[in-house]
Structures are given as structure tokens and as C-alpha cells.
């Protein structure tokens, strides 16, 4: 199999899907979306087969790399979006938002797979621009403003990167590094920069809002550039303190919320704050951990978001200070919600647990940081159980037959749950986590493990 062709198809499939979806009649739109995502998923599978899942491969013009890192994160991203598209139903899936989704997916794929910092910045700037324009069109201005700030930061940093190749990240000017991390924080919803995303979630809690706050770009910026800031100890210490305070605070905020979207949003952002903390770590395993952790968040976060969205779709806003008693009408959703929620909070047997255990035991955290990280995990678990109890337990006051899940919705959530559980019980099946691979990463010098997929960079040079 020609790998260049596979990579080209991987980028082109969602892009072509976006065009076809835009042109397709309304009733056909959701199928074009699903087909485009399925084709993308197939190309990822082909890439895995072509590279045997372990070796790196390059594709020239955009400096794209297929490595275990990309083969872990890519499928998680596509699977999550596929589930969202299917869960969205006829009304949502037929909307124009899907065109935006597919375009964004195509761009984010370039960002994930590229090893060129300049192309990464351009791609992230473009995706932020697309998101911002869509949000302004929908009247969700606050997150739009944050995204514009991010675009400005990226544009100001871009000239510094055109002249540099990857191994020279250590020469990055401190101000540029800091600016890029702040841009990542803006996208990740790190407190207090979570205001815009929370407002977006509260206003219209649908798939668009969900995806717009699933901060792919922010994670990428942190993973690629975070470790380089670590060479500047004064700045990285300040950033770490920020994250260490923000993570438990975000998790605690989830407990205090009255509405489901905000409670879900804060839980999601708390897990992203943990990921950001991890991405700034310079430990030799951080690439493996960050990638696995990211894939786990993508799967469980999307799954929990989809489950929460299905409830909102049927019932509107749910008051979490009261009991709603949905259990009787949707027992399957109740179970799936609990599993996906606990997966996001890192319960044993899930992919997130493996990643968290790996993170906690290998990241260079002091006692205070350890306590704060563990407190965040603990609070997230409590927030999830609180959401579950308030939604599904209590007296059912009304007959709500429409609460029952449809087949496609069950399949979507079950597929995500299955992926999370399989990843947790058989983590070696995850390309990035296979022990041989992780040991290879460990064997490399810290200088070579600076960016995600940097192992590919070594092969290139």
C-alpha cells in the first residue's frame, strides 16, 4: 500500500465530505457526514496496517508523519465525532454545522500529523478562525472573542517559526513560547479562560457547541510547544502553579453547577487541565502519556457529552439540584452515562485510569502537585456520580416514553464505551502504549522526546 496515498486520502476524505455535505439535499446530509467519517476511519486503519503500527512514515509537502502518537489520537478523534454525528439525529445532523465539522476535522488532521511548527500554527489559526466565524454567526460571541485572541497570538508567533525547524525549539524566544501556551490555554478552557466556552455550552448545548469546546487545537499546542517552555524554569513554574490551581478548581466547580451542560463542561475542562499539566512535563514518557491521556479524554469526553446531549435533546435543561428520575425510562443511558462519566474521571478498568496511573507514577510532580492532581481526579469522580444520581435517580413524576434511546444512539455510546473499556483492560492494544514502543521512547534522550511524534523527527534527520 502506498503510504503517501493513504495520508492524502486521510486528509482529503473529510474535506471532500464537507463539500459533498454542503451540496447534498437536507435529508441526505447526515449520511454524507457518516460516510466521510467512516472513510477517514478506514484510511487511519490503512495507515496502521501500512506502517505496522510501530514505525514512522513521512509524507513530503506538509511534513506529515504517521506515528503511534497520531495513530492513537486520530482514531479517537474520528470515532468521537462519528458518534456525535450519529447521536445528533436527523435535525442536528442535517444542519450546516456538519460542513464546518468536516472542514475542521480535515484541518485538525493536518495539525495533528504535521511535524512543521509553521504549518501547525497556520492550521490551528485556520481552525480557530472557522470556529470563531461559526460561533459569531450563531450569536455565541464570548467564545468567539477568546478564539480571536488565540488567532492574534498565533499570527504574532508565526514569523518566529518560519525560519526554524523542529530540533531548534530550545532556541525559541521565551515570549513566543509563553504566548503559544496562553493560546493553548484559551482553547483548553483553563480557568479563568473557561468563561467563553462555558457560555457557549450553556447557550446551545448541541454537537456544535460540544465540538467547538473539545479543544483539540489547545492540546496540540501544549504537547508540541509545552515541553520547550520547560527549559525556561521561571515561566514553566508559573504555568504549572496556574494549572495546579485551575484543575481542582474546575473539578470543584462541576459540583456546584445547577445545569447539566455546565457541570459536564467543567468536568471536561478539569480533565483537560490535567492533560495540560502533563503536556508541560519534561519526563521521558510524556509523549506516550499525553497521547494516551488525550485519546482517553477524546473518547470518554465525547461519549459523556453525547449522553448529556441526548438528555438535553429530550428534556431540555435539567436542574441538577433536583432529582429527575430518568432511570426507569432510559436504563441503558443511565448505565452508559455512568461508565463514560467514570471513565472521564479515571475509574479503574478504563483507558483513562491507565493513563492517569502512568502519569502519576512517571511525571515529575512534587508532593503538593501530587495532592492537587489526585484531588482533581477525586473531585471529578464525585461530580460524575452527582450528575448521575440527580439525572437518573429520584421519583419519576411524568411519563416520558420519548426518553427511550434509539438504536443508533445506543450503538454510538456503546461503541465509545467499548473502546474505552478495551483500552483500559488491554492497554497494550493501543499503539502508543504498547510496551515495546514506550520503552523505545524511554530509551531516547530527553532532547529527542520534546514534541509528540518527535521520534519521527529523528528518523527524518
Amino acid at each position: 500500500m502506498n503510504l503517501e496515498l493513504v495520508i492524502f486520502l486521510m486528509i482529503a476524505a473529510p474535506f471532500l465530505g464537507a463539500i459533498v455535505t454542503a451540496l447534498a439535499p437536507k435529508e441526505e446530509k447526515r449520511w454524507t457526514v457518516v460516510v466521510a467519517l467512516l472513510v477517514t476511519m478506514s484510511t487511519l486503519g490503512l495507515a496502521f496496517v501500512t506502517t505496522s503500527g510501530t514505525s514512522d512514515a513521512f509524507f513530503g509537502p506538509l511534513e506529515l508523519v504517521v506515528s503511534p502518537f497520531t495513530l492513537t489520537v486520530g482514531p479517537a478523534l474520528v470515532l468521537g465525532r462519528l458518534a456525535l454525528a450519529l447521536c445528533g439525529g436527523r435535525t442536528i445532523s442535517a444542519s450546516r454545522d456538519n460542513v464546518w465539522f468536516l472542514l475542521l476535522l480535515s484541518i485538525e488532521f493536518i495539525a495533528i500529523f504535521t511535524m512543521s511548527p509553521a504549518i501547525l500554527l497556520v492550521a490551528e489559526g485556520l481552525s480557530a478562525l472557522l470556529l470563531a466565524s461559526r460561533l459569531f454567526l450563531r450569536g455565541q460571541k464570548s467564545q468567539g472573542y477568546y478564539l480571536i485572541m488565540e488567532i492574534l497570538i498565533l499570527c504574532s508567533a508565526l514569523p518566529a517559526f518560519f525560519e526554524q525547524s523542529i530540533p531548534e525549539f530550545s532556541d525559541m524566544p521565551p515570549s513566543v513560547g509563553l504566548a503559544l501556551i496562553i493560546a493553548g490555554f484559551l482553547r483548553l478552557g483553563i480557568f479563568p479562560l473557561s468563561t467563553g466556552a462555558m457560555a457557549t455550552l450553556s447557550k446551545k448545548f448541541d454537537t456544535t457547541a460540544l465540538i467547538s469546546v473539545l479543544p483539540v487545537g489547545g492540546v496540540l499546542l501544549l504537547i508540541r510547544f509545552g515541553p520547550t517552555v520547560n527549559t525556561l524554569s521561571s515561566i514553566s513554574n508559573q504555568l504549572e502553579i496556574w494549572l495546579e490551581i485551575a484543575a481542582p478548581l474546575l473539578a470543584a466547580m462541576a459540583i456546584a453547577q445547577k445545569t447539566l451542560p455546565r457541570a459536564f463542561g467543567y468536568t471536561l475542562f478539569a480533565s483537560h487541565a490535567l492533560l495540560a499539566l502533563l503536556a508541560l512535563d519534561t519526563g521521558p514518557y510524556h509523549v506516550a502519556i499525553a497521547g494516551e491521556f488525550w485519546a482517553a479524554i477524546l473518547l470518554s469526553g465525547t461519549g459523556l457529552g453525547a449522553a448529556a446531549y441526548l438528555i438535553s435533546l429530550r428534556f431540555g435543561d435539567v436542574n441538577l439540584r433536583k432529582f429527575s428520575g430518568f432511570q426507569k425510562h432510559t436504563p441503558r443511558l443511565s448505565v452508559l452515562f455512568l461508565v463514560l462519566g467514570f471513565a472521564l474521571a479515571g475509574a479503574p478498568g478504563t483507558l483513562q485510569f491507565v493513563a492517569e496511573d502512568f502519569l502519576l507514577n512517571t511525571a515529575e510532580l512534587d508532593i503538593i502537585s501530587t495532592i492537587l492532581v489526585v484531588t482533581t481526579i477525586s473531585l471529578m469522580g464525585f461530580a460524575v456520580l452527582r450528575m448521575h444520581f440527580r439525572l437518573f435517580y429520584g421519583r419519576d413524576l411524568l411519563q416520558r416514553d420519548f426518553m427511550r434511546l434509539e438504536g443508533r444512539e445506543v450503538i454510538c455510546l456503546a461503541a465509545l464505551t467499548f473502546a474505552i473499556l478495551m483500552g483500559g483492560l488491554l492497554p497494550s492494544s493501543v499503539p502508543l502504549v504498547s510496551s515495546v514502543r514506550a520503552q523505545k521512547i524511554a530509551a531516547k534522550s530527553p532532547a529527542h522526546s520534546v514534541q509528540g511524534g518527535i521520534d519521527a523527527g529523528q528518523a527524518k534527520h
Binding site: 464570548s142 435543561d317 479503574p348 496511573d357 502512568f358 481526579i377 464525585f382
Partner: protein, 450 residues
Amino acid sequence: MISTEFLQGLLGLTLALPLLSLLILTIGISFGFNLTERRIHQLLGVELSLGLLSASLFFISLLCGWIEPFSVDLGTLIAAGSYDFGLVFHLDILGAMFLWLTMALVGLVGAFSANYLHQDEGFIRFYWLLLAFVIGLEIIATAERLDLVFVGWELLGISSALLIAYFIRRKGPVENGLRAFAAYRITDVGLLCGIVTLHHLSHTTSISALARIDSTTALMVGGFFVFGAMGKGAIVPFTPWLPRAMEGPTPSSAIFYGALSIHASPFLLLRLAPLFDQHLVLREIIFTLGIITAIHASMVGRVQNDIKCSLAYAAVAQVGVMWMFIGLGFYKIAAFHLFGHTVIRTWQLLRSPSILHERHQLLNLLGKDLNPTGRHLERLLPLSVQRWAYRVALERWYLNELWDIVAGFFMSILKTIDRVDRRWSSFMESESAGYQEEKPQKTLTGVIKK
């Protein structure tokens, strides 16, 4: 002489059986198979009978010295450099005792529940959670590494909270389940921090390596572990969740809060005993917490007016005594106490629903009232002190109020931050000053209003 390979295989099978049963039950529920009460009961019966047989073999063989403690390696979950998450299990006499208790008592409760929960809407849910509980306890009893112990500990916590909230239609049990879970999560921070710190400082989480770490590390890590064990054992100030946990069905109260779950706390301390031997301060802390808990639970338990709460506090008092034994270094006495108390308390709790009936029968047989009890040492105290002690006991040492104040304080801070956050977003959205609560977007028919 029994071969080691056979024992290893048998232990692996014992650990796998509940997992297999849980899988069968999950598949059955997911795909809508006809899972009658009888079939579920048979499934659990076969699994626990086999488990009890093998646990008895392990326990008796180890007790009589026919076999030596042994380990079984079921593979590695994840490995990278010096870090690995190995599925290594080790069976010694302490673990075999707890494994036997698990199989015997869960089997007993399982059989009891078949009638007790007959035609209850949560019948399947109860047995599913009971199996998750068994898996958690098996892991705690046999895990050789503390990472694995944490897995079992988490399973125990989650299944416990869900069983307290078993009666899902009633608000009280559900709120109480949440409160119990909050206590668990707070103390789980200690356990996980202890494991992580131990790994950072000594590069291992193996229980067998605990005896070799230095005293400074032992003090820090041991402090975390003692805190971690406080929640499940309902040690002061984490006692208030226990009477609330009694809202669950009686079989789950018996197995969780009379028997195995609450005793997981002294069991963990016994497992970590080599660590506490490294530093006297740790043992002093354990002893102090134990004696405070024993006094608290004894005082409060005597003024309770329902049998389940009374038994719950009696169980906590005995757990406090076990902590005292551990603090004094009497590990064997603590283990023996754990074994005996677990069995007797389960029996008492299972009989508690019919206690009034039995009392009436007893009175009829005796033909007269029983001698009044409950006058013990307090007679030596002045009347004013007696009254004060009664009031304090009735208020359960005001621990509930203390936790309410602490939770209220943090919640008020969080709500203030939330308010500021919403106002800021309202400003950015160019809406009128001050945020407004979101209005429902959907109608009851599920159609979105755009």
C-alpha cells in the same frame, strides 16, 4: 504436598470467576436475555461455591503450614522503562483469611438476598453490584502491589455508593449514597497520594518492599495511607456517613457496613504493617484515631433508636479497637478480632429485620421482661456530666454539623466564583447586566426550538 503451579492456577481461577460471572450478567442484561431471579441466583451460587472451596483450601493449607505463601503473575497491563503495572497477586495467611471471609459471607448474603429481594425491581442491579464488590475485595485481599489495591479500593467505593442508593425512587438513600461517596473520595486522595509518593521515593509499589524503605519515607507515605484507610473504616471524623449508609437494603448493609467493606480499613493497615513498624509516630497516630473512634462510636451507638444504626456504631467501635491493636503492634490479635467480628456482625445485621419478632418470642418464652441493660460506667459520673455526655452522643458529637459547615463554606466560595464567571460571560455576550438563568430550549416532544 500441593504443587505451586496448581495453587497458582487455582488462585487465578478464583480471581477470574467473579469477573466471568459479571461479564455473563452484563451481556445478559445488555442483550435482553431472559435473566430470571433463579438463573442469577444459580450463577452466583456456582461462582461463590467454587470460590469458597478454593478459598477454604488456601486458608486451611496456609493455616496448617502445608503450603508456603505464593504469588501468581497474570501478566503486565502496561510497562515502560522502570514503570510497570503488573497483575501480580500474592496469597499469604492474612490474604487467605480475607478471601475466605469474602467468599463465605458474600455467599451467605447472596443466598439470603434471593428471598429478601424477591421480585424487587433492582434485583439484577443488586447482584451485579455484589459481584463488582466481590471483585474489588478479591483484589484487595490478594494484590501484591498497591496500584492493584487501589483498583479494588475504587471498585469497593463505587459499588458501595450505588448500593446505598439502591432505592432509587427515594431521595434520602440517594443523597446518603452521595455523602458516603464524598467521604470515600476525600480519603481516597490519601491512598492514591501514598501510592504515588511511594513510587517516586522508592521506585516500587510492591507491598513486600515496604519493610525496606527508610523511616522518613515511611512516615510520609504511611501518613497518607492512614488517611486513606480512615474513610472506609468510618474513623472519626469520617463516621457520619455510616448511619446514612444504612438506608440501603439490609443484605448490603450487612455485607458492606457490618462485615467486609468496613473491615477493609483495618485489613489495609494490617497489610501495610511493615511500614508502620518503621516509625513509631505512625503507630501512635493509628492508636489515637482508634481510641477516639471507639469512644465516639460506643457513646453514640448507645443512644441510637434503630437497630441498624446501633449495630453500625457497634461495628465502628470494634473497628476502632482493631485500629488500637494495630497501633499497639498486636497484629495477630487485630487479625483474629477482624475475623470473629466480621462473622458475628454479619449474622446480627441479617437478623436485625426480625429482631422485634424474636424479642417477642423470647419474652413469651420467659414469661417476664428482660433485665434492663445499658447502665455501666456512666453511673460513676456526676449527673451533669452524664447529661452532657447524653446530649453530645445524641448529636453524634456534632460531626454532621461540622461537615455541613465545611461543605457549606467551600460551596459558597464556588458559587461566588460561578456567579462572577456568569456575569463576565453575560458582559461579553452583550446581554443585560447580571446573568439570567437559562431558559429551556426544548419542548416535551423533544423537538428543538431554533
